[in-house]
Symmetry: C2
């Protein structure tokens, strides 16, 4: 029975990693679609999201099954409930990549006002934060999770720079650019939200690891 539980836990871990990979791909593809005005690729992100939604439900079901079958306590219980939260975060992140893709489709083949630099940079940061947060979870790595939390202010700053430029250098100077600028404003907001969700994941990991530490301290105290 014990070994079976470990196997189920490992499976939950690897399923979450797969879910994370699909999500990172959605972020990457939605930004590629934006850069290259590739409406087909944007549609592909939206199509692929159904698979991610199904995977979320599958993972949640297996986590609930794990709880029902093995009735874990302490660290294992907390690992599973944290996994469930992270699973939901990943699905939300994939939804935000869908939002980016929807904006790309709305924009159609209108040329970009200027080459995009900061938005792809924000997208790269978002993807990196998601990856690092998931690695921190899998490895119970508090330090790595803390770095993700610190990166969030970088994302906020980058989003502010993007917003200021789009407002002051484009819309204020020439109001007719607004219909082309607003989707970019929204996209930068979607990407910043992805960074927020990666931060939530990292905070959950820190909380999970620290609860374990506190529990260990309590157990050590009891032993004395």
């Amino acid at each position: 029975m014990e070994r079976h539980f470990d196997e189920d836990l490992k499976k939950l871990n690897s399923e979450l990693l797969k879910m994370a990979t699909l999500t990172e791909e959605s972020i990457l593809k939605s930004t590629e679609a934006l850069k290259n005005k590739d409406v087909k690729l944007a549609q592909n992100v939206i199509e692929k999201d159904k698979e991610i939604d199904r995977k979320e439900i599958e993972i949640e079901e297996s986590a609930i099954e794990l709880l029902a079958l093995h009735q874990p306590v302490a660290g294992d219980l907390r690992f599973i409930t944290t996994g469930m939260k992270i699973n939901a975060e990943l699905e939300r992140i994939a939804d935000l990549a869908v939002n980016v893709s929807q904006r790309v489709i709305e924009m159609g083949d209108q040329p970009h006002l200027k080459p995009l630099i900061d938005i792809p940079k924000l997208s790269d940061l978002a993807r990196k934060m998601v990856k690092e947060a998931i690695d921190a979870f899998v490895n119970h790595d508090e330090e790595r999770a803390k770095k993700v939390v610190l990166s969030d202010s970088e994302a906020d700053k980058l989003r502010n720079v993007i917003h200021k430029e789009l407002i002051n250098d484009y819309m204020v100077k020439d109001g007719s650019t607004a219909p082309r600028v607003v989707p970019l404003l929204l996209i930068s907001r979607h990407l910043e939200r992805i960074c927020d969700h990666a931060t939530y994941i990292a905070e959950d990991v820190i909380y999970m690891v620290q609860a374990k530490v506190i529990r260990h301290q309590r157990e050590t105290l009891k032993e004395k």
Copy 2:
């Protein structure tokens, strides 16, 4: 033991209701702050959010404790895991009310371009959807949850109307309005996201109720 578990479940229920009330208040106050350019009220929403964050952690802790102590299965287990998801949604909704308040503070005491009508309407819809979704959860009411899911397209439409008006009637005609219009664009997006989260809650409720129905059907089949 059985009775104790029921009491703990009831407590979880009432704590979630309190959390929902705090969240609805944040939505209401952030929109009042917007309407009346009341920066102090906006700051109050941000301040109050710390309490909501603490409450989220408390509820999650008691849910995990419930799982560890009583090791529930089937419907009870699913009710608790759904409660945990809803708890996280409510915290996110409160964060979005904070986002609205942050935009209000950024706008300072600049006069509104015109009396706000559709944004308060979207805010009322958001608050109603949250309230109905929580009521659906507490009462295991699938029909009520389905109505919330249907309302989401209304929110999307309203957001579109707001965006089109702000872009075409203000920014395109006079680019210098952009710094005052963009916060309103973002606020309407925040409010639409609140409606999305209310929809997620309603979907979770439907899923929870249907899983129970499926389980009941299985049990009835077994009895035959």
